[in-house]
């Protein structure tokens, strides 16, 4: 297995799937401004995906483009974390999923800008600027909804309780990460989880939300073991290329 290819696929699949989930809000946002915001976020994520998967294709050296990788892989070949494929639910659920992911993605890119691999560093540098803004946006909503009305508080607290089980996978590591860190391709991720807990904790406390005490966690996405939701996402995402192979417009 090519560790660098695998690593790029993981990061690229995370942004592709959360970008797709956000795009599902198009035309369904609770207010026009947030409808536009979520599709803007989606656009940033799809753009980051294109950079990551394009590079993955180059690293693999089999001539696969970013489109081949996005449209022609099966669910078991997708390596995104389970968090990003969870259904949108209500707006509070989507913002909570976004907030938990943005906090991680921001801290991750802050480290990856120092990667020795120049392409990864460049993608991280570009993406970090966008991710900071995303994190601010989702954090502000978590505070507004958490510290809002009784109903909005209940809804985002329920969302936090539902999604918390998927957060340990943000820090999943295996031989892939170890190999790249040992080779110096990417920097050490030491302290990532602690920084995330601190960053997330600050906002949740401001939002008067309670971090769940149930520590049961669910992982599997990084190994290609997904929840039932991913298949449906791919069915929609890949439909055109599966039905009309090679279609362009």
């Amino acid at each position: 297995m090519n560790a660098l290819f695998e690593y790029l696929i993981r990061l690229g699949d995370d942004s592709l799937i959360i970008g797709h989930r956000l795009s599902e809000w198009c035309g369904h946002g609770p207010v026009l401004e947030e409808d536009i915001a979520m599709t803007n976020l989606s656009l940033d994520f799809i753009g980051q995906t294109a950079s990551l998967l394009k590079y993955a294709g180059e690293v693999e050296g089999k001539g696969r483009t970013e489109d081949d990788l996005a449209y022609l892989r099966c669910d078991r070949e997708y390596k995104n974390i389970l968090l990003v494929e969870q259904p949108n639910g209500d707006f509070g659920m989507t913002m909570m999923r976004q907030f938990l992911f943005d906090a991680y993605r921001k801290l991750l890119f802050e480290r990856l800008v120092n990667a020795k691999d120049e392409t990864i560093a460049a993608i991280a540098e570009k993406s970090l600027k966008e991710t900071k803004y995303h994190f601010k946006h989702s954090s502000e909503w978590i505070i507004r909804l958490g510290d809002g009305t009784e109903e909005s508080n209940r809804r985002v607290q329920d969302s936090l309780d539902t999604l918390w089980r998927y957060t340990s996978e943000l820090f999943y590591t295996d031989a892939v990460d170890a190999e790249l860190i040992a080779a110096g391709t990417i920097p050490s991720m030491e302290g990532l989880e602690e920084d995330w807990e601190k960053s997330v904790g600050e906002v949740l406390s401001e939002a008067t939300l309670t971090i769940p005490t149930n520590n049961w966690k669910q992982e599997g996405g990084r190994k290609g073991m997904h929840s039932e939701h991913l298949g449906y996402i791919l069915a929609e995402l890949q439909y055109m290329q599966r039905a009309y192979p090679g279609l362009e417009w």
């Binding site: 803007n40 940033d44 980051q48 921001k106 460049a122 540098e125 601010k136 946006h137 906002v203």
Partner: protein, 161 residues
């Protein structure tokens, strides 16, 4: 033989498809112009990762330079150093304002959560009494504001550093 300076001048005739008042030079997306034996190489950088205008800008550069008689043009897209609104030229900022889009203000780091909001003056009446309507606007690079005095709703070109 065409000079580098001439090519820069030709690029001043290529406009940003989403903010057509700005040229690609005003916008600061052209990083480098390199003369080659029988043509040139133009290095551009995207404003945002998913900016859908990049492909169009690339095509427009090819088209414009072909029109000027330069057939062999290579357009390369680089991500680093990452684009910042600081690269929008002073002329560009002036054009934005005249067009009704508030140019980027000096903003605190976006990751600061609880800072005072940035004051964005109204491009129509210059009032500083304006409010943020939405952090995201008509394109990835803009936010949406409204003037509390003249009531003009306007786009703000977000500061990106």
């Amino acid at each position: 033989m065409v000079t580098e300076k001439q090519i820069w001048a030709y690029l001043e005739e290529v406009f940003d498809p989403e903010v057509p008042v700005l040229t690609v030079v005003d916008l600061g997306v052209v990083q480098k112009v390199e003369l080659k034996d029988d043509g040139c190489k133009i290095v551009i950088t995207p404003t945002y990762s998913g900016c859908p205008a990049m492909k169009r800008i690339e095509d427009d550069i090819h088209e414009k330079l072909a029109e000027k008689g330069i057939e062999k043009v290579e357009v390369e897209l680089v991500l680093s150093p990452a684009w910042t609104t600081d690269w929008i030229t002073e002329i560009g900022k002036k054009k934005l304002k005249e067009y009704g889009i508030a140019p980027p203000e000096d903003e605190v780091d976006k990751s600061v959560l609880f800072a005072d909001p940035t004051v964005v003056p109204c491009p129509k009446c210059d009032s500083r009494n304006t409010k943020l309507i939405s952090q995201f606007g008509s394109t990835a690079c803009k936010a949406h504001y409204q003037c509390n005095d003249c009531l003009e709703p306007f786009d703000y070109f977000k500061c990106l550093r």
